[in-house]
Symmetry: C2
Subunit: 341 residues, 2 copies
Amino acid sequence: VLEAADLRGIDSHGVARLHTYFELLVAGAINPKPHIRVIHETPSTATVDGDNGLGLIVGPRANAIAIAKAKTVGSGWVAVQNTNHYGIAGYYPLKAIEEDMIGMSMTNTTALVAPCFGAAKMLGTNPIAIGVPAGEEPYVLIDMATSAVAYGKVEIADRTGKSMPEGWCIDKDGVMTTDPKRMKAGGALLPLGSDRERSSHKGYCMSAFVDIMCGPLSGANWGPFTPPFALRDKVVVGAKTASEKRVGKGIGHFFGAWRVDAFRPADEFKGQMDEWIRTFRASKAVPGRKVLIPGDPEREALEVRSVSGVPLTEAVVADLEDISETTGVPFDRKLFSVDSV
Amino acid sequence: VLEAADLRGIDSHGVARLHTYFELLVAGAINPKPHIRVIHETPSTATVDGDNGLGLIVGPRANAIAIAKAKTVGSGWVAVQNTNHYGIAGYYPLKAIEEDMIGMSMTNTTALVAPCFGAAKMLGTNPIAIGVPAGEEPYVLIDMATSAVAYGKVEIADRTGKSMPEGWCIDKDGVMTTDPKRMKAGGALLPLGSDRERSSHKGYCMSAFVDIMCGPLSGANWGPFTPPFALRDKVVVGAKTASEKRVGKGIGHFFGAWRVDAFRPADEFKGQMDEWIRTFRASKAVPGRKVLIPGDPEREALEVRSVSGVPLTEAVVADLEDISETTGVPFDRKLFSVDSV
C-alpha cells in the first residue's frame, strides 16, 4: 500500500510513514498478528473487527470481502471497526477496477477539521476515494480529503515560513488565518468550501458522512474521539482537543464495490466511459491549463516513477536505516536514489 | 415531492416548478403515462428505464426498488435512465430513514458548471443527498449541489442588481467574475471549492462521480449532453453550450439504501447517532453562530410551515391559477396565504 502511494507521487503516504507504523508496533499500540474477522453480515454487507491490526493489513482484507460480495450479489459493503490508518484511500478502488467494478473507500482520521461555523477540531480530514474502470482510456480515480486542504500543506507553509491562502485554516478562536503557526496553536483546518459563503457546510456534510459510515455504523470511534495516528500526535496535534474518551474501537473504514455488469453490460459502460473521458479532456480550458480527469496527476507520476524509481529524502532513508538496524532486516542504502527535496 | 420541498423551505424546488412540469407535459416532451420497468438486475442492484416519465413519478418508484432490495440482501442500488428532473434530492433518503436505512440519492442535471481549470459548462449542479436515521434525536439529512452554489443564487443577485462573492462563477473566458450578468453571458458556475488553491478539483470530482453513476452507468445522457430541464432553458441557459447530440436516454438518477442492521443492531447504531448529534451540536462555535447538524435548516422550516402553511409568491399563485384554468382542476386562491417575497 505504501509503495502504491510512493509510485503515484503521494510521498506523504508512502514509506515516509513506515517509521511511524514501526514505532506503533514496537510500542505495542498496534497488534502485529491481528485475528481479523467478520462479526456481522448479510449477502451484500459485512462488519469487520480489525483486532487493532495495521490498517495496511486490515484494509485490503476488508476491501476484498466487499469485492467478493459484489461478485455474488452485485454490490458489496464492508464497515470496519478496531483498525488503524490504512494508507492512501485510492489504493482500495484500484482493486475493484481490476474486477470491472466501481470501487469506493473511506476512513475517518484524527480530528483536525472544524465544522461549518465551528471553532474546534471535530472531524478528521476524512478522505473518500472512488475508482471507475474505462475501456481504452485509463481508469478514473478520485482520492480526496474532505477538508479544504490536507494538513501536510499547512506543515509545508510552516517549514518554509510562508503564509497560506485564505480559506484553509482558522485559529483557536475560529477566525480565518493565513499564518500556519496560528493554526497549529489550537486552530483547525476548514472543510472543503472554506467559508459559509462558498459553501463550507457542504465539505462539512461530506466529512460527516465519512465519519458516520466509519464510526457509528462500524462500532469504531468517531469525530473528536478518533484516536491519533502516531504516538507523537498525542502531543503535537491532539493535546488541545483530543479526548481520552472512547466511543468505540480504534478508527473505522468503509469499503464498497458495485459490479458494473450488475447495471449494464461492462463493454457498453466502458465505451461510454471512454467517450466521457475524451469529452472532458477535450473541453475548453482556461488559458495555460487543461481539464484533467480525476487520477491524471497520480498516473503521470506512476509512469515516471515506474521507470526511474521513487526519490526519497535523506530523512526517509535514515528512518529506513534505523528500522533495519533495530530489526535486522537488511537495507542497502545504495539501492535508493536520494533526492534532496 | 414538491410539497416536501416547500414544507422544508426549499421554495425553488416546490410548487413553483409545477408550471414548468405542466408545460413539458403539454408540449409532449414528457410521457404522462410512463411504463417504468427494470431492464437489468441482480439481488442488490437494478437499472430502471423511466420511459421518459416525470422524475417525480419515476424517482420514487426506483427509490422504492432500492429499499426493497436492501430489505432482502442488506443494500440496494438502482440506476435510472430515460427520466426527468426529480425534485429535491433529499426527498428520497427520507423514505430510507423510515425503514431504518441509510439512504442516498443523486441525479445529473443540465450542464451549468465548469470543471476545475475548465472554461465551459460541462456538468450539472449534480446534487447528492444522504439520510441517516437516529434514535431520540432527529435524523441527519444531507442535500447538497456539488457546485459552489446553486444557479438560483446567481439569478437572485442578477434580479437584485448585486454583485456576487468571489468563487461562485466564471465568465465566458474562464475568468472568475462577481457580476451575475457576465456569468449568464456564456459563463459557468464553479465546482465546490471555487478555485484550485481551495481545491475546486474536489468539487469537480464529486460532480463527476454523480454524473458517472447517473449517466454512463444507467444509459442516460451525461455531462454536456444532458438535456435541459425546461423548454425555455434551451434558449435562456443552454443556447451557448447545450448540444443536440445525445449519448443516452433522458437524464439519470442513482438511488441507494443500506439497512443499518445489516452492519450492527439498529438500536446500537441509533444510540451512537444520538451521541454523535449531541456532541457536534454542543461543540465550540464561532461567536454568534452555532454548529448545525445536516438537515437542521430544513427541519426548522418544516416545523414552522407544518403549522402556519407555505407562503407562496403572487407569481406562483398565478401559475397555479393558469394550470387550473387550462386543466379544469379546481383551484381556490383564498386557500393560499400569499407572501410578497
